[in-house]
């Protein structure tokens, strides 16, 4: 399995058409969790990323932060997910002024990332992977980026556009 993954890391990334595995992850240090299924009815963008504080993740998530009006235009929720603790998320989000939730796939470590086929066993971190989940909780688009490459936002926007006509501005 691991050997195969090394040559084709996208092999077990959940593909379009699959049901998005539900999860219930800590979203804030004071005990608030976020459950994916409560967002049913609107598109959800899941952004798995390796680590808070790392340079590529900072660039990538700052770009998504700059695009908040676009996500709102599609009535979409964007969620960041990594194995960092909720306290690291809190400090990083404050430092970088991130305005969307960061979820802690911390305990059991990486369980949600694994369920999406977006966990790198070797490094013990989430992969840099993107998913668009449709109104019914089905994956409509997924993308695995090389770990050191910021995938940008074009693929996400194209996927949201193809999902439905955007909410009137």
């Amino acid at each position: 399995m691991n050997e195969y993954r090394a040559t084709n890391p996208a092999a077990d990334l959940l593909a379009p058409g699959a049901a998005a595995p539900d999860f219930d992850l800590p979203a804030t240090p004071d005990g608030n969790n976020l459950r994916l299924s409560t967002l049913r009815g609107k598109p959800v963008v899941l952004v798995f990323y390796p680590a808070d504080w790392s340079p590529v993740c900072t660039d990538q998530l700052s770009l998504y932060n700059e695009l908040m009006p676009e996500w709102q235009r599609f009535n979409a929720e964007l969620l960041g997910i990594s194995v960092d603790s909720i306290w690291s998320h809190k400090a990083w989000a404050k430092e970088k002024k991130l305005r969307f939730p960061l979820l802690a796939d911390f305990e059991p470590k990486g369980a949600v990332s694994r369920a999406y086929g977006a966990y790198d066993e070797a490094s013990g971190m989430s992969e840099r992977a993107l998913f668009v989940v449709d109104h019914d909780g089905k994956i409509s688009w997924s993308y695995l980026s090389p770990i050191n490459v910021n995938p940008g936002a074009d693929g996400i926007l194209a996927a949201l556009e193809s999902l439905a006509s955007p909410v009137a501005r």
């Binding site: 084709n8 996208a10 700052s62 932060n65 700059e66 676009e70 940008g152 936002a153 074009d154």
Partner: protein, 186 residues
């Protein structure tokens, strides 16, 4: 890197045209377009390289600039972009653009306004345009056009509409522009 598919560099979805700030010969065979952020240190490092490149290729190359401010990381970038656009509406875009990249450490509102005065802008109009964010929609249009063209950070260059994925050392850019010239000559 995933071996799933062959790689194609992203293309510019909004071609360089009348809406853009472009300098250099109108009939140049190569257009170098940069998406840049005025407070980004990497863009600051690329600035003199682009100038050298323009000096090396005065007839074949023209240069266009679009805004790609990441405002949370660079809190001065948006106002600087607006200041450059105001200057552009008074036919001094490139003077302000150059001033900003030569003064990246001093981009407070008062600094930009003083620069506007030094460049001979109508300061009453400058104040009104900054106050009303007259050019914010244009800057946002630049930004979104970049996002849709595969820009994920700054600086990102496009050469004749194709994203340049190499570094921005002078030699690299000279090679890339020459390659585009050859491709165009075929």
């Amino acid at each position: 890197m995933s071996p799933r598919q062959s790689y194609h560099a992203p293309r510019l979805t909004l071609p360089a045209g009348a809406r853009d700030h472009i300098r250099g010969p109108i009939d140049a065979r190569v257009t170098l377009l940069e998406y840049g952020d005025y407070e980004c240190p990497f863009c600051g490092a690329a600035y003199p390289v682009v100038k050298q490149l323009e000096e090396l290729m005065p007839t074949d190359l023209r240069f266009a600039f679009r805004h790609f401010p990441i405002t949370t990381l660079h809190p001065h970038a948006e106002l600087a972009a607006e200041a450059a656009e105001v200057a552009g509406s008074q036919r001094r875009f490139w003077q302000m653009h150059d001033w900003i990249y030569e003064h990246q450490d001093t981009l407070e509102p008062g600094d930009l306004r003083r620069a506007a005065g030094t460049l001979g802008l109508d300061l009453g109009q400058y104040d009104a345009d900054v106050e009303s964010h007259r050019f914010a929609p244009h800057i946002r249009e630049d930004f979104i056009s970049g996002v849709r063209s595969g820009v994920n950070g700054t600086p990102t260059f496009f050469i004749n509409g194709v994203r340049h994925d190499g570094d921005y050392e002078l030699e690299t850019l000279v090679d890339a522009v020459r390659t585009a010239l050859l491709a165009g000559a075929r």
